[in-house]
């Protein structure tokens, strides 16, 4: 049994982590959060230069687990840009044989994901293509020229969503609702959002632990006090075991196991709840400083709220998981 990461996978995560540390440092996050762009060129092209855009192309030799590991690090760094949409667009375009997968793989063409039935997509103003994944209607690729974008004030400042209108029937149909790939793309999207949530939840836990070791009260680091220690232990207890839920969902998708759709739904629902709980607990663990805009915890808190709302709420996915289990 081998249910852990390979050295290669750990190395990929390190590379992405390093690239984002350089191209997306905290001061850039602050500047971006206070501006009104919905896309950041520098960190996007730095990430794409790692050659990870094509991870979900059928011949890449990688799979959803690898893509999830990258999305986890993007979540950790609260990276801007439509990474999940881009990875899925490559998978969709490469599998359908329509469109230019190479331009997508390099990141020159930017694709964002819009979930069937939703009005919102991240980085919509920067996107060249809109990948619409709808379990009921199939998968379509629509050019930016054919969509109408309405700016909104977005809660998630690291990955702002815009309101997007796309007329029925525009663009190119890649897969019908009955094609297996439609469901697979929808499932993959759930796993990748779960991975983003995992990375973010781990990040705010790490921030809280680091703060508890360094901040002193009553002449001692506050992490020595059992009340806070137990709170941090609870955060870790919520986050760390849930990591395996993301791994399993990605593994099941890659191996095309029968329970892959259900595993994806469970991972999305569970991790998005974990993320919101973790960010709330992180603010509490930090006290006043955690509540200030400048400290930045709010970027992850807002992202947690956005991950939770994106592609369907936890309750929606649990209801689906219940049905898939035959309850």
């Amino acid at each position: 049994m081998h249910f852990h990461l390979t050295e290669e996978q750990a190395a990929i995560q390190d590379a992405v982590r390093g690239t984002l540390a350089d191209s997306w440092p905290m001061e850039r996050v602050h500047a971006f959060a206070d501006g009104d762009a919905d896309f950041d060129r520098t960190s996007w092209y730095a990430l794409m230069a790692l050659g990870l855009g094509g991870m979900l192309a059928p011949d890449s030799g990688m799979g959803l687990l690898d893509a999830a590991l990258v999305c986890e690090v993007a979540g950790e760094a609260a990276a801007a840009g439509p990474l999940i949409g881009q990875l899925l667009a490559v998978a969709a375009v490469a599998a359908s044989g329509r469109g230019d997968a190479e331009a997508l793989i390099s990141g020159k063409t930017i694709a964002t994901l819009i979930h069937g039935g939703s009005d919102y997509a991240p980085s919509a103003r920067a996107a060249d293509l809109f990948l619409i994944v709808d379990r009921a209607k199939g998968v379509r690729l629509v050019a930016a020229a054919d969509v109408t974008i309405e700016a909104v004030k977005a809660a998630d400042r690291t990955r702002p969503m815009s309101k997007v209108s796309i007329a029925d029937g525009t663009g190119e149909a890649l897969f019908a609702a009955t094609d297996q790939m439609t469901g697979r793309l929808a499932d993959a999207a759930l796993v990748l959002v779960a991975a983003d949530a995992l990375g973010g939840a781990q990040k705010v836990t790490d921030m809280s632990v680091a703060y508890a070791k360094e901040r002193e009260q009553f002449g001692q680091p506050i992490g020595r006090f059992q009340g806070l220690k137990h709170q941090l232990a609870h955060m870790a207890l919520d986050v760390e075991p849930a990591r395996a839920l993301v791994w399993y969902a990605a593994y099941a998708w890659d191996a095309q196991l029968p329970d892959a759709p259900r595993a994806a739904a469970m991972a999305k629902a569970h991790l998005c709840d974990v993320y919101v709980r973790a960010t709330r607990a992180a603010v509490a663990a930090h006290g006043g400083i955690g509540y200030t805009w400048e400290y930045g915890l709010n970027y992850w808190f807002r992202r947690a709220m956005a991950d939770r709302a994106w592609l369907g709420s936890p309750a929606e996915h649990r209801a689906r998981a219940a049905t898939l289990a035959g309850w």
Partner: protein, 403 residues
């Protein structure tokens, strides 16, 4: 990733299965004592085969196999599938044997290991005292050398001893150097419980349960044990007690149990006609998120053990996670059984085995999940362990033993 155990393991599985199909189950006409003897013989045979007592040398009744967590897991799975008995459980196997293997004298090993392995000696754990729970180093039960220096004379009280009524022996921590610093004045002793200086009394638990499987308290009034039954150096008992069984510990057994329990909870929701209730479905799926996290994390820990790697902090979390999930399941179960919640838990007062068990059996789960939060390291201690060893937070000054 790969969830299979590999080809070698599957060949081995076939061997184990063939062995079991030949030797288990017992013929249907065995009763009472005969059945006991059959089980004993079966265990001996399985040990000879290398399936049981793998970490114990042959000369003490083990099968002395190289550490192999995959094989150990295959054995567990196949024995469970066949419902065949594995090792005799309890403190003796988990604590006494590993401690003696690591710290015992040759005489102690010969005296105790085989008898424990074969189930003749049943060991009570003599750590906790009425005033000494999580702060184990504060034990006060006294040990004094007899005038001729051949025996330890023991006076004091031990409490919360599982299987206390059946225990034949006890391993215990006693204070032998009253003036030494807290951790350095304790000695680890083995003692025969069948002697005039020992009084045992069952403790009635909050479940109402009494009888053989409950806790006991023990009173020692000039009880004696030979000096040759002292394990490790005098005054070093605290460190002796830190010995644990390191071999083949990782298993995915706990996860299987939890999964089965969850499946029963789903069945309960169906039985009571609540499975279509969206709130019940949501709550079930919520709990299942944790159940699956636990299961897949056990795969993770198991994989690391098989590869000889450290699984990291997740391994410190499994007990507390299990406790918390048990509590969640109990709460939902109570909601589902409705007014049956007024009934006494089925296992209470030893009435559990009489007649069919109704919905109130779920109340056992409620109290059981509470017991879990204390036994084997209280939940607050687990949180300390996660915080300190897992997250690297500084130790509480009061607990660090720093002076």
């Amino acid at each position: 990733m790969d969830l299979s155990y590999g080809e070698a393991a599957e060949t081995f599985r076939a061997e184990v299965r063939a062995f079991l199909s030949l030797h288990w189950p017992p013929p249907s006409d065995l009763r009472g004592g005969d059945l006991k003897q059959f089980v004993r013989n079966f265990r001996a045979l399985a040990t000879e085969q290398g399936y049981l007592h793998r970490a114990i040398p042959k000369r003490y009744g083990g099968s002395e196999q190289p550490v192999d967590v995959i094989r150990a897991q295959v054995i567990r799975e196949e024995f469970q599938r066949a419902r065949a008995p594995m090792e005799v459980g309890g403190n003796g196997m988990n604590m006494t044997v590993p401690t003696l293997l690591e710290k015992g004298t040759e005489e102690q090993k010969e005296l105790f290991i085989r008898k424990t392995v074969e189930g003749d000696y049943i060991w009570g754990q003599g750590y906790s005292e009425p005033g000494s729970g999580s702060d184990l180093a504060s034990v006060r039960t006294k040990g004094e050398l007899s005038a001729d220096g051949s025996k330890w004379i023991i006076n004091g009280q031990k409490i919360w001893t599982s299987q206390g009524m059946q225990s034949t022996h006890m391993f215990m921590l006693v204070r032998t150097e009253p003036d030494a610093p807290k951790h350095d004045g304790i000695t680890y002793l083995l003692i025969d419980l069948d002697q005039p200086g020992v009084t045992r009394r069952p403790i009635r638990q909050m479940t109402g349960e009494e009888g053989d499987h409950t806790f006991c308290e023990f009173f020692f009034d000039n009880a004696e044990t030979p000096v040759s039954w002292q394990v490790g150096e005098r005054g070093q008992g605290w460190y002796v007690s830190r010995t644990t069984l390191k071999h083949e510990r990782a298993s995915i057994g706990g996860a299987d149990g939890l999964g089965k329990q969850f499946a029963k909870l789903v069945d309960l929701a169906k039985e009571v006609g609540r499975i279509d209730d969206p709130i019940v479905r949501d709550k079930l799926a919520q709990i299942e998120g944790s159940v699956l996290s636990h299961r897949y994390s056990s795969y993770r820990i198991f994989s690391c053990a098989a590869a000889g790697e450290d699984p990291g902090p997740v391994a410190l979390m499994m007990k507390l996670l299990l406790t918390e999930i048990g509590h969640e399941m109990a709460l939902l179960a109570q909601e589902l059984i409705g007014e049956h919640g007024f009934l006494e838990p089925a296992g209470a007062g030893g009435r559990g085995n009489r007649g069919p068990r109704g919905p109130e059996k779920w109340l056992d789960q409620i109290m059981g999940s509470l017991g879990n939060s204390i036994a084997g390291g209280a939940s607050n201690i687990q949180r300390n362990i996660i915080g300190e060893r897992g997250l690297g937070l500084p130790r509480d000054l009061a607990m660090s033993g720093e002076r």
